[in-house]
C-alpha cells in the first residue's frame, strides 16, 4: 500500500495509505483530504485535482499526456511549469512510494 503525503499549508500533512493502483486524486477523495476535488472522476477533463509534486519525485513521474498538459492551463491556482500535475494521472508505486505533493489553495 503506497503512502501519499499531502501538504495543505497546515503544520500536519495528511498521510494516506492508498490501495494499489489508486491515483493520488482518488486516494485523496476516498480519505477526505481537503483541497482535491476531482470533479470529472479522473478523466483529466476538469482540472480540479491540481497538485504541485515535490521536486524529488519529478524525474520518476509518468510522462504527461497532451490532454493533461493542456488542461493544466485551466487550473484555478497558478501553474508551476515544473511541479504542476493533475493528480488523477499519477498512480504511486515503485519509486513514488512515498510521494509528497503540495495541495494548492484553490481548485475551483
Amino acid at each position: 500500500m503506497p503512502r501519499i503525503i499531502y501538504h495543505n499549508g497546515t503544520a500536519e500533512p495528511n498521510v494516506v495509505e492508498a490501495a494499489d493502483g489508486t491515483s493520488v486524486m482518488r486516494a485523496a477523495v476516498a480519505n477526505d483530504v481537503p483541497g482535491i476535488v476531482g470533479e470529472c472522476g479522473g478523466q483529466a477533463m476538469c482540472a480540479t485535482c491540481h497538485v504541485y509534486v515535490r521536486a524529488e519525485h519529478l524525474d520518476l513521474l509518468p510522462e504527461m499526456s497532451e490532454d493533461e498538459e493542456e488542461m493544466l492551463e485551466c487550473t484555478a491556482a497558478p501553474r508551476d511549469e515544473k511541479r504542476s500535475r493533475l493528480s488523477c494521472q499519477i498512480v504511486p508505486g515503485p519509486g513514488l512510494d512515498p510521494i509528497e505533493v503540495d495541495v494548492p489553495a484553490d481548485q475551483i
Binding site: V29, A30, G42, E70, E73, C74
Partner: protein, 417 residues
C-alpha cells in the same frame, strides 16, 4: 456529532449536487443540522463514469464514491440512504418520508436530479431494456455486456453514444436509432455532429438517423429486438434507452412550488418558497450568460457549482449565480469538451482540422461568442472557459483571422489590469 440541534438544512438527493452542498455548508462553518436524504440504498457515487469506464471491459467493479466512508459522520452530515421523500409539508416545514416519519427543516434544498425518459412504446419496460442513469442500471448493463451479441441504443445523445462506444469495445454489434437527422443534434453544431457520426461509424456502430423507435419486440418475456417507425426490425440482446432525462419535479409540483421544466429558482437558487432552494439537474434558473433566459442544465459542473452557490446563499452571501457552464463526454478515443451552450442558429468558426480529429467549433450569436465545442483540443477548452470567466468579447471576425489561436488570445486578454 453533538451539539447540533433544531431544524437545519434538509437536502433531498445525494448526487453530485446534494453531497457538494452538504460539504460546502460544513466547510463554510454552517452551525445547524445537515440532513442528506437519498432514495438509493448505496453510498453516494460519481455518475459520469457509469456510462463510460465503469462499463469498459477493464472497468473496476465498484463505482467511484463521491466522498470517503467517514466523510459524512466526520462532518456532522446525517446521511440517510434509502430515505424516500413522499411529500413536502410547507406549512409545517417538514418533509414526509414513505416510512411515515417526518423530518423538520428550516431550509429545504431539492437536489432530486433527473430520471431517464422511457418512450411510451410497447415493450419499453421489458427485461433487457435498460435505463442509463443509476448504479442499478449500470450494474445490470455491466453484467449483460460481456455476453451480449447485439445492442440497440435508442437516442444518439451523450449517454447513448458513450454507451455505444463502450459496447463496441466489448465486441457487441451496436445499432443506434435516432429520430433526428444527426447525432447529439440538440447540443452540438452540425460540424461536430458530423464528426461524431463519422467517428462512431468507424468504430463499427450502425447509426440509423431519422429512425424513431416504434416498439420493442418480446420473446418469452424478454426484449429481443427494437422496431423502428420505418418498420425495420433491429435484433438486440439488450436495449439502452438513451432518449434523455426528465427533471424530478413531482415533490415540488405537489407542494405548489413554481415549476417550469425544472423547479424554477431565482438568481440565488431560491424557489417560489424562500425557505426552499433547488439545485442541479432538477432546477431551472435564469442564466445571465444567456440574457437571463430560463435554463436547465444536466451536468456535474452545474450541479456542484450551484451547490457551492446555494451553500453561500444559506450562509448569508447574497450574490447571483453566474457560473458559465461546461460539459464533457468521452466516446471511444474522442474527448469532447464544451464551454458555454451551443444553440441552433449560431454562426460558426472552426479552429484546427476536423479531418485530423483535433478541432474546435466556436459558436457566435449576435456577434458574441456563445459556445466552444472542442474535440481532442483541451487547450481550446481551457482557453474558452477562461474567455467566458473573464467576460471577454471575442468576435467571429477576429476568430476567423488566419493564424488565430484561442489559447494565446485568452492568455493575453485575461491578464489582470
Amino acid at each position: 456529532m453533538t451539539g447540533r440541534s433544531g431544524a437545519g438544512t434538509v437536502i433531498v438527493g445525494a448526487g453530485h449536487a446534494g453531497v457538494q452542498l452538504a460539504d460546502t455548508l460544513r466547510t463554510g462553518g454552517y452551525p445547524d443540522r445537515v440532513v442528506l436524504l437519498d432514495a438509493q440504498d448505496t453510498a453516494p457515487y460519481q455518475r459520469p463514469p457509469l456510462s463510460k469506464e465503469y462499463l469498459a471491459p477493464d472497468g473496476a467493479p465498484e463505482p467511484v464514491p463521491l466522498r470517503g466512508e467517514r466523510f459524512y459522520s466526520d462532518h456532522g452530515i446525517e446521511l440517510r440512504p434509502g430515505a424516500r421523500v413522499r411529500a413536502i409539508d410547507r406549512a409545517a416545514r417538514a418533509v414526509l418520508l414513505d416510512d411515515g416519519t417526518a423530518v423538520d427543516y428550516a431550509t429545504l434544498v431539492l437536489a432530486t436530479g433527473a430520471e431517464p425518459r422511457r418512450p411510451p412504446v410497447p415493450g419499453a419496460t421489458l427485461p433487457g431494456v435498460h435505463g442509463p442513469v443509476t448504479l442499478a442500471d449500470a450494474r445490470a448493463l455491466r453484467a449483460a455486456l460481456p455476453g451480449a451479441r447485439s445492442a440497440v441504443v435508442v437516442g444518439a445523445g451523450f449517454i447513448g453514444l458513450e454507451f455505444a462506444a463502450v459496447a463496441r469495445a466489448h465486441g457487441v454489434e451496436v445499432t443506434v436509432l435516432e429520430a433526428a437527422e444527426r447525432p447529439m443534434a440538440r447540443v452540438l453544431s452540425p460540424t461536430m455532429s458530423d464528426y461524431f457520426a463519422g467517428a462512431h461509424t468507424r468504430m463499427g456502430t450502425e447509426l440509423r438517423m431519422g429512425e424513431a423507435l416504434a416498439s420493442i419486440e418480446e420473446d418469452r418475456g424478454r426484449a429481443v429486438a427494437a422496431v423502428g417507425a420505418t418498420g425495420r426490425r433491429y435484433p438486440a440482446d439488450l436495449v439502452l434507452m438513451g432518449v434523455g432525462v426528465a427533471p424530478r419535479v413531482a415533490l415540488a409540483r405537489e407542494a405548489g412550488l413554481r415549476v417550469c421544466d425544472g423547479v424554477a429558482v431565482d438568481t440565488r437558487l431560491r424557489t417560489s418558497d424562500p425557505s426552499i432552494l433547488a439545485i442541479g439537474d432538477c432546477a431551472t434558473f435564469p442564466a445571465p450568460w444567456q440574457g437571463g433566459e430560463w435554463v436547465r442544465l444536466e451536468s456535474v459542473q452545474n450541479a456542484t457549482d450551484q451547490a457551492r452557490h446555494a451553500a453561500g446563499t444559506l450562509l448569508g452571501v447574497e450574490e447571483p449565480y453566474t457560473e458559465p457552464p461546461w460539459f464533457w463526454s468521452i466516446q471511444g478515443e474522442h474527448r469532447l469538451q464544451i464551454a458555454g451552450v451551443p444553440r441552433a442558429g449560431d454562426e460558426h468558426v472552426i479552429l484546427g482540422d476536423p479531418e485530423r480529429g483535433r478541432f474546435s467549433v466556436l459558436g457566435f450569436r449576435g456577434g458574441v461568442l456563445g459556445a466552444v465545442e472542442s474535440v481532442n483540443r483541451p487547450a481550446d477548452h481551457a482557453a474558452a472557459r477562461r474567455v467566458f470567466r473573464h467576460g471577454l468579447s471575442l468576435t467571429p471576425e477576429r476568430a476567423g483571422e488566419p493564424g488565430f489561436d484561442l489559447k494565446s488570445y485568452a492568455a493575453r486578454a485575461s491578464v489582470p489590469g
